[in-house]
Amino acid sequence: MLAKAVFSHYRRHPVQLLALVVMITLATMLWTGVSVLTDQARVSLAESEAAVAGRQQVVRSDGQAVTVNDFALLRTQGQCVAPWLEVQRPGAEGRVIGIDPLALGCFGGAVPGGTAGEQLGAPFMDISEAVSLAREQGYDSRLSLLMPDNVTLLPVGYRAQDFSMGPATGELADSFLLNLDALSVLVLLITGLLVRSVYRLGLAQRRGSFALLQRFGVPWGRLQWLLVLELVLISSLAIMPGLWLGSQLAGLLGGGFAQALDGLFDVTLYAGSQTAVPWSALWIMLALVMLVCLSDWLLPRHWQRGMRAKRLWRWLLPALALGVGLLLVALAPALWWVFAGTTLVLLGVGTLTPVLLAALADGLGNRSLHPLGRWRLRELAVMLRQLALPVVALQLAVATVLAVQALVTTFEATFDDWLDQRLAAPFYLMVPEDADGHRGAQLLAELDGVGPWQRVIGGRVSLLQDSGQRLPVDLFAVAPIGPLLDQWQLLDSLPQPWQRLEEGGLMVNEQLARRQGLRPGDSLTVRLDEQQIEGQIAGVYADYGRPAGEVMVSADRLPEDFSGTSESLSITPGEHSIQAIQRDLEALWGVDNLSVNDNASIRQLANRVFDQTFMLTRAISVLTLALAAVSLLIMGWVFFTTRAWTFQLLRVWGLPLQGVRSQLRRLAVTLTLAVAVAALPLGIWLTWVLVSRINPLAFGWSLPMAVYPLFWLELGVLCAGIGLVIGLLMHRQLKPGAPPPVSASGITGEER
């Protein structure tokens, strides 16, 4: 009986129930979508890296390409090897890979290419088919011999080498995923606000009937239990479809992602098609809904009353949260401090923004000499106070979009720079182990008309620290110091850093500089096998690829007999063809079939993966914005039903209908524009947190902080558009034939 009385509210207000259900469903959908995507992207990238990094191949020590004869020889010697024939089809068809499922038998569980290899699905086919395809069509093909990574002994004349088909984007991807995590927390917060705003609206309307029931002797505690029960029921019903929709959304967005990954790594790594419903999201959403809707009860009642009464608390508490949050983020020694601080800042900003904006509007109103302008500003203040929650949700959503846009654009630019840096020159070729890289470099130096080129030697060395200990670091030795290094981003440097490098200086990457507290001008001692190199640090360069510290020196300073782990030549062919240069080097080193890598295609592949990921992130942030806009519309509509009479009053006072409507539109547009302006500093701060706080703490390097004023402008226009749409829809409540305001349903202080 009592339950019936309590629940009957939604029977009388089905739209409110619908709005609440829709909000919870959409919130669940968004959050599930984001978290499923992030999880899957994380798994996929981890797998892809394992697939790339874990694979080994057999190569000939003399640098010659392996042939079918090598395969036969190795097999007869009892080695476990399997052929892998890449056939490059032109254009969009892409490459196919011929494999021999029988030969893969000895790999046991660790089959290269994952299970896809066994099933011979695209891009895999039987090796005999691949061979005939290559022969008949005349396509380029390349044979590799794969081996399990646990094999150590190989016959003389062969050695093991990492088998990699794309650039290892490792840390950059990880960093991006962490930021995606941060984004999903933000999305959770925003949707929480939206759910709360809809629920509190209903609760406010039910206050009267609760008071009545209490007067009839129903204890408040029992009412509370009924409300909790009701909310659990409603949210469980609403969360279920949300979970399903969320995994559908993830599948939809993930499809493109999966394709890009397939293209890059030749294996079906992304499990996006078989999205399982994440049940953990059910509990998280349920807890969230309970928390945001009923959190007021957690505070003792006299506190609540006190806080409502004392204006000071309304300012002081959020201001305190804001201050502490900013401090936490700025000083954070660990990642979770940043997250906690950010939450505090968002709470503080969220509470303060409507209050501050309303106070501002009131203040401006008092100053306005134009009576209609004063009325508009006062009305704006009322709207800001009454629609505080959806307004804040919109503000956070706009800030998120801003931050994500800046982040994504920065990532894109940075990733591009990083590829420029590591893939300088159009081509590069690995120097075979037995070949003399120095002679190869000489050949290039004497070649007229060749474009910029450089020789790069990688190795492991150690830094001699003051304490006498040795710190292992990577070595990046390059010569000549030329135009190919122009792409390198120096974060900090002495004057003429490249000249200093050529003359014996050193450079370190950002990771190493941060970890060891190194600065340009410091002296450093690098220990090679026998000798050591000393020098001054000429610059610190950005290096987004890996966690490892790295020292860069001029290759000319290395001793002749230095044995690095890898050596390559980056070449711009200039007036020559790359084939001609390749032939010259093959002749010089006495090998045939040197493999030349085309940097453009590597870059293209890598970009495709990132494009997809970025698109996905943008899609999520824009969806959040749309959700916030829709909720502002719903709340605005409900609010306006109690407010339309004041606009009718203007009509009674002789403003033509068009004039009244234009006032309404101006008000709505001013509201959303004010929200956009309030979101701007928050968005910039969030960007800063993502690139300058979260990244260094998680990975040791920061991304360059960039701002995009043009995008701010776009977002401002978008917000004005949202306001305009809201205003235009509100017109419906101002019909020409609408009755004049014969009675205002009880004028209370809440109306201003």
């Binding site: 009576p371 020409p736 202080g749």
Partner: protein, 223 residues
């Protein structure tokens, strides 16, 4: 000042036509006051809404000074614009409740209304004082009593210096004593400014203070 001829107005409710006013004719001269009486639902409010153009008549003609409104003449937007112009500076409307913008103080309400009517600013305090709420100018509508709100509403109407005041039960929600005091003010200022007053009311005493009486409950044959 106000001439109404053969006015007819009905509504459709649940598909059924409901005639409210039919064949109504009357005339009020400049500076006079007319009380519109009748039981609830007899069409008092409807009549006042017709007289300020918030509703359109089905039949008949309304003349206000030199403005004449027949059923289709003027038509459409032109008609709306003319009525809006009249409501803006010539016709002051007072309802039983909800005459003030809740977001503005009483003084700001008066100033806004006067501004819309094209009156110079600065007289609002004077009008508030004239109606006995001079010390409440800085308060908001929810911070004063119902009687004080209606006084402020009258101050707003007078501040626009109208030629015609349409008052729909302006004292309807007030107690006898307050109602009389508000009515005193209303009639005093009406006399003083010489504007025409049309007053819809249930209240026989209030109606008795008007020059003319129109009872909508009876067949319409008044002049």
């Amino acid at each position: 000042m106000v001439t109404v001829e053969q006015l007819g107005k009905g509504f459709t409710s649940a598909g059924e036509p409901v005639p409210v006013i039919s064949g109504l004719s009357f005339q009020v001269s400049r500076g006079a006051s007319l009380a519109v009486m009748g039981r609830s639902g007899s069409g008092k409010s409807t009549l006042l809404n017709l007289l300020c153009g918030l509703e359109s008549p089905d039949r008949g003609e309304i003349s206000l000074g030199e403005h004449r409104f027949a059923t289709q003449n003027p038509a459409g937007a032109e008609r709306d614009a003319q009525w809006a112009q009249l409501r803006c500076s010539t016709i002051g409307v007072v309802f039983q409740e909800a005459n003030l913008m809740p977001a503005l103080t009483l003084a700001d309400n008066v100033r806004l209304r006067a501004h819309l009517a094209g009156q110079a600013p600065g007289a609002e305090q004077q009008w508030l004082e004239r109606l006995g709420v001079g010390d409440l100018g800085q308060r908001f509508a929810d911070q004063v009593s119902g009687g004080q709100r209606q006084r402020a509403a009258l101050a707003m109407v007078f501040a626009m210096k109208p030629a015609l005041i349409l008052a729909d039960e302006p004292t309807g929600s007030l107690d006898r004593h307050t109602a009389d005091a508000v009515a005193d003010c209303l009639f005093a200022v009406q006399q003083e400014t010489g504007c025409t007053l049309l007053l819809a009311t249930h209240d026989g005493l209030l109606a008795g203070r008007c020059d003319q009486l129109l009872d909508l409950s009876r067949p319409h044959d008044h002049g």
